[in-house]
Point group: C2
Chain length 300, copies 2
């Protein structure tokens, strides 16, 4: 989720920096990287060079280099850039879909269907992200029936094999995660589910564990936990990939990711951006080999 | 846990500010407040005015005003200050006990036994905090048998009715929380357990949910999430009380705490300290009444 992080940064990284980050993330063992987004350069100037990043980066065998694709025009660019996977996006909330994508959910589903057909013809993988799966910043609660309707239609009408349930504005909590994931698993047999959490209210990793208990094994993170919404000061970004990998590894879920490499890449990103990031394990070190911390004051 | 937060701050708040914070915390509905610590003013100058804070604050009926007490001298001060509860502290790790309290665990247990007797004679409640219950910054893993030994001895030898298992350096993770809590519950029938987490590696609230699943309903937090270890740069403090209350409330566990009041008090603390704090809900607002956040960039 390099894409979700960088699109919210004031400082625009050079294409070379972005390529360096993608290559380092792939080298750390991550198997799916959302490299960029094929969106309007006017809307998201931070990602205007998506085509150049895909063209310039050296690809590792076995790594899926994905891109967010909001419409048919983006799909054409994604095909030209030889993205491995198009992440097609719509929202479970009508208000949010209109604010974010400037169209109705119905129009988004139609666009996703056409984009998926285009991807199929090009031999490209597709997945979908369903924004506001745990609440909407405009509408509040999104009824479970709405989530199920749009997941079913993404699977049945648009032929999408994999859906990421996105907690766009950080409204998920563990019991809700279990409820939503369980009902989607029941309603959409054969679907591959991923979970995309923001740590807006501190619950990001708690929600990951709820997802794990529900059988989900795919989670999005952002390098160093960057991101957030430019219109909600103080809101935080995706969960930090290093914190996620650390949490999974200590809990006995091997990830195949080199945590130390990920931490070093996160620190490089901090230098590129010129500010601190929310990543915690980057600061504290891993659980058993972190810096020794003598407590000289009697503390509980 | 005003104590655990303030003892790690560079800026020393005035006694008046501390009294204001304690009174506002009590007014928000918190039922137990660790006001300060009766420790050496040389070791922890931030809390040198513990006696004056207890003397100056207006007490609310029903609220337990606790203090950390590391030794007999501290116990005498706690009795004189009319603290409602003495939080007696030792570590499950020998190295950490010696570093933090300058004595062996055996000597600490003896001191706790004597302090508890003194408290009993004064009609004061006692509890104990067992540091390093989920790992030690010096020794790494602390064997489960060590945790059980010291919990049993606190209960049986020192007559302590309530133990807070403390994740002193942020090494807990959900599966370990369930394992440790379950084994202590089995070994120490009748004990009241509390959990004290630091968010050092982002797992604070995830660990709270693991504790809840194990039947624990008492959790420590620090106002605005302040704290951390002065000797581990970047390490973070206790979990933020407002984030904790928010997580519990949205999950259907009523706390009796006025979250808005807590958030306002947290922001006042930020002003007093002159820096931002790790509290998340303070920035983002509560899940369903936070600021509306339009996403103009297509985002998952």
């Amino acid at each position: 989720m390099l894409r979700d992080g960088l699109q919210n940064e004031d400082r625009v990284l050079s294409t070379e920096r972005k390529i360096e980050l993608v290559e380092r993330l792939a080298a750390s063992g991550l198997r799916r990287i959302e490299v960029s987004a094929f969106v309007s350069p006017r809307a998201v100037p931070q990602l205007a060079d998506a085509d150049a990043v895909f063209q310039g980066m050296v690809r590792r065998p076995g790594v899926i280099y994905a891109a967010l694709v909001p419409n048919l025009r983006g799909m054409e660019r994604a095909v030209a850039a030889r993205a491995d996977e198009a992440n097609l996006v719509m929202s479970a909330s009508e208000s949010h879909n209109r604010a974010n994508l400037r169209m109705s959910r119905e129009a988004s589903l139609q666009a996703i269907r056409e984009a998926a057909a285009l991807a199929g013809a090009a031999g490209m993988r597709v997945a979908a992200s369903l924004s506001c799966s745990f609440g909407c910043p405009f509408e509040g609660e999104v009824p479970g029936a709405e989530i199920l309707t749009w997941c079913r239609r993404l699977q049945d009408d648009a032929g999408i094999p994999s859906i990421s349930l996105c907690d766009t504005s950080g409204m998920a909590y563990p019991a809700l995660v279990k409820e939503v994931v369980g009902s989607v698993q029941d309603a959409c047999r054969g679907i591959t589910l991923a979970l995309h959490f923001h740590n807006t209210r501190g619950l990001g990793l708690a929600n990951v564990f709820a997802g794990l208990e529900s059988g989900v094994i795919r989670f999005d993170g952002a390098l160093a936990g960057i991101g957030g919404c430019p219109y909600a000061p103080g809101a935080t970004g995706n969960i930090c990939t290093a914190d996620l990998v650390h949490a999974l590894e200590v809990s006995g879920f091997p990830t195949g990711v080199d945590l130390d490499a990920l931490i070093i890449t996160g620190k490089a990103l901090e230098n590129f951006l010129g500010h601190a990031t929310p990543g915690q394990v980057m600061k504290a070190g891993r659980r058993l080999s972190g810096p020794i911390a003598p407590h000289h004051a009697p503390a509980g």
